[in-house]
Symmetry: C2
Subunit: 190 residues, 2 copies
């Protein structure tokens, strides 16, 4: 998606340690009009899939998930991050690891809102090693829901998480795919 | 806003301990079309205020803040909740207390994205005792930003937080105001 790639080129900042800072428009300050357009693009790629629910994880996935859901005329649902491993009965849960924060956490989704009649589109702002996406897939599997695929704003393709999941049969549509990046040479898209 | 009040009446669940559960449409599963309409309503009430930024706090305020921001053609910005009180240099911060989780936390916003040239509309899903709203106001004050007011989805008016802040001069527009509620008699709106 050209609009997003241009914005990443213009406002994204590459730092040592493979960090792409896009918090001026994607995950702290939110460019609502850009995210609306990104949601429209993701929705268009899955419009014939009978999606009943857009699933994401708090916090930075919520905005793009909501805009996508509005175009698909279905609800969004965000998994909550729990620090405790004591999980209540009424939730589907999966463990994940945050490389940003260096900690483990558990994602939880109420069983009331995800079940075997659902067709799920997973949406997130970033895909790098695929850890969050795997946990969201696990939650869908536990719920018996069918997964239509995943719609991602920015995939760091070179980290391999996306292609590993594609090889396992998950359809992933990333609207900006980064082939390589470094602080000197900048960002190259696929 | 009739649409929201009807939805609260239909799907909101009142539990002992003054709990209103609206997680089927507002703060876990998200009815994107309802939240879009709510965002349009809040934006309309502040359309002549020169708002440059919609400020909320993660996680459940993000959806409604984004839809509001899209109608106001400005960015949304969400404060992050930090458990530590060691706050970095580059952020505005304020302490808050969560009655839901029974803990204190610190809200932080990057100084890059909020400053003295901003006119802020604070948006949140709930207003009860006003604790989160006070912390967001404090962040705006520290940044030297002007506050146009606050747009809230559901105000528990009887808890007094909103009226206390109104008495201090803050303009608050709540699109559903609950006058009283209990498990037997249901919900009465203002």
């Amino acid at each position: 998606m050209q609009l997003l790639e241009e914005r990443i080129r213009r406002d994204g900042k590459v730092f040592p340690g493979d960090v792409l800072k896009v918090d001026s428009f994607l995950n702290h300050q939110l460019d609502a009009e850009l995210l609306d357009a990104a949601g429209a693009e993701i929705a268009a790629r899955f419009e014939d899939c009978g999606v009943t629910k857009v699933l994401t994880v708090e916090s930075s996935g919520i905005a793009i998930a909501c805009f996508t859901a509005r175009y698909l005329h279905c609800p969004a649902l965000f998994a909550k991050k729990s620090k405790t491993s004591n999980i209540a009965d009424g939730v589907w849960s999966a463990k994940a690891h945050s490389y940003t924060h260096g900690n483990d956490y558990t994602m939880v989704v109420s069983k009331e809102y995800l079940g075997e009649n659902d067709v799920v589109l997973i949406v997130d702002d970033f895909l790098a090693n695929g850890c969050a996406l795997k946990a969201l897939r696990e939650i869908c599997e536990k719920a018996g829901a069918r997964i239509a695929g995943a719609g991602i704003a920015i995939e760091k393709e070179y980290q391999g998480g996306g292609n590993e999941l594609r090889a396992e049969g998950l359809r992933i549509e990333s609207i900006a795919r980064i082939a390589s990046m470094d602080a000197e040479d900048g960002i190259r898209f696929c």
